[in-house]
Symmetry: C2
Subunit: 277 residues, 2 copies
């Protein structure tokens, strides 16, 4: 097998602090059906949202070292917090392409807004890092970006209260200031949030464009693989498990969540000790 | 200085996954004013509630190794999850006394119930470990213990929504089944929950006894120090900082929470790399 062929057939490494990044893996499965995926969820150390930049960089380096042992040709940081805090740093250290979820989401939001008023919702770290604001304003400095941390959304999604009146009341409260500012575009800046999309749509109304960075990241990955000439042109090899899942803790709980959102049944999930990498 | 005197003057090591254990530290400060405290909050790896037994034991061993470097005479696991999952294991490996928050809470609940129907609320791990049930039934097998995981309570407390209608609605939903079972005693089985005490009291009514394991643990520690002859009989030495705080991440956020619940101003909080221990 040529090196080139081997490169094309290598997997995409995708990582997140836990299950949230599965919404990104799901978009890659839907939009790039030829690609294999190695997914890592750092369930022993989640959530990343409340942790410092230094810690998130250290965790990301460990995970990338692990993913490299699994023969990956590109890496997707499927976690807004790690994309915001660690991408710039780890990118310099790598000889394979790596993308996060922030830039693809920011680019689409900058293109979508008409009145130049964009809202971003996410974890505390993502919002306080102002990474979406900086990325959007680097594209168009005339855009004003309003951020709002929504720390209850992740546990509400994990409770499964996706269309619950309590979730609607909390979401109404979280979104009020952004809507009062007159935003016409809203970035769902945390990987769990697309699962609240229909509830958020109900609150914002149809005139606000919802941007899902998970989908935009899959499309950006597609363009990147084409550009580098490492997209997998053929079918996935039979007998070679196309999607593999690793976690740092509690594989059973991960499996339940994975099976509730992925379009196929996840059979095995391996637990590894990420601190060894 | 005699060894005995040195022992008495050594500090109490207290640890938790984050800020929650400060409610236990607070009860020790109030009830054992002569004792010094070294507190560690594992803010880089919180929350513990969703993690496996094996992982919690590994984290607890690292933290105990760190606390031993700070000259402690006894250790309090101020975290329900770690008390439930790790105490039995680490206790065997130690030559100083160690207590958790589960047994003191369980003992008081077993003594308080009249109709032998006790409820426990806590994180998923605490509830699924059935540690409160096992501990209570070892004391009195006639007691029936009903558990309920309340995963939204910690983020609600951290939002500061302590008396909010949303919190009341969520708490009403969480407590409904327990109250329908006719419990006359309820254990607040997570260190954050005493901060929701008045809201929970409003829902349960006055006929349900609320057990606060943080308070009961401080009282159990007092008895243990007396029994071992290592209580500090005198005043804390002047010029020697009586309460010291360490975290594994995000010291500023920890400081804000600490200052909102402790009866004095926390000046310095040191950040350490717990994975090195």
């Amino acid at each position: 097998m040529s090196d080139k062929k081997r490169d094309c057939e290598a997997a995409i490494g995708v990582f997140d602090s836990g299950v949230g990044g599965l919404t990104v893996a799901r978009e890659i499965m839907r939009n790039l059906p030829n690609e294999r995926i190695v997914y890592f969820g750092d369930t022993a150390r989640l959530p990343y949202g409340s942790k410092s930049k230094e810690t998130i960089i250290r965790f990301s380096r460990q995970i990338i070292r692990f993913l490299r042992t699994q023969d990956v040709k590109a890496i997707v940081i499927a976690c807004n917090t790690a994309s915001a805090l660690a991408l710039e740093e780890v990118e310099k250290e790598l000889d394979i392409p790596i993308i996060g979820v922030v830039k693809p989401g920011a680019r689409v939001a900058a293109a979508a807004t008409v009145n130049n008023l964009v809202g971003v919702i996410g974890t505390e770290s993502t919002i306080h890092s102002h990474m979406y604001r900086q990325t959007i304003q680097a594209i168009n400095p005339d855009i004003t970006v309003f951020g709002r941390a929504c720390p209850l959304f992740v546990p509400l999604v994990e409770e499964g209260w996706l269309k619950d009146p309590v979730t609607e009341e909390i979401a109404t409260r979280y979104l009020k200031d952004l809507l009062d500012q007159g935003i016409d575009t809203l970035i769902l800046g945390c990987t769990h949030y697309p699962l609240l999309r229909s509830l958020i749509r109900k609150i914002t109304g149809e005139h606000v464009t919802l941007v899902n960075p998970a989908y935009e990241t899959a499309k950006a990955l597609e363009r990147l693989l084409e550009k580098k000439g490492i997209a997998n042109p053929g079918e996935k090899e039979p007998g070679n498990e196309p999607y593999r899942f690793f976690v740092s803790d509690a594989a059973d709980k991960f499996k339940n969540f994975a099976n509730s959102i992925l379009p196929y049944d996840v059979e095995t999930i391996q637990k590894i000790n990420i601190e060894e990498y």
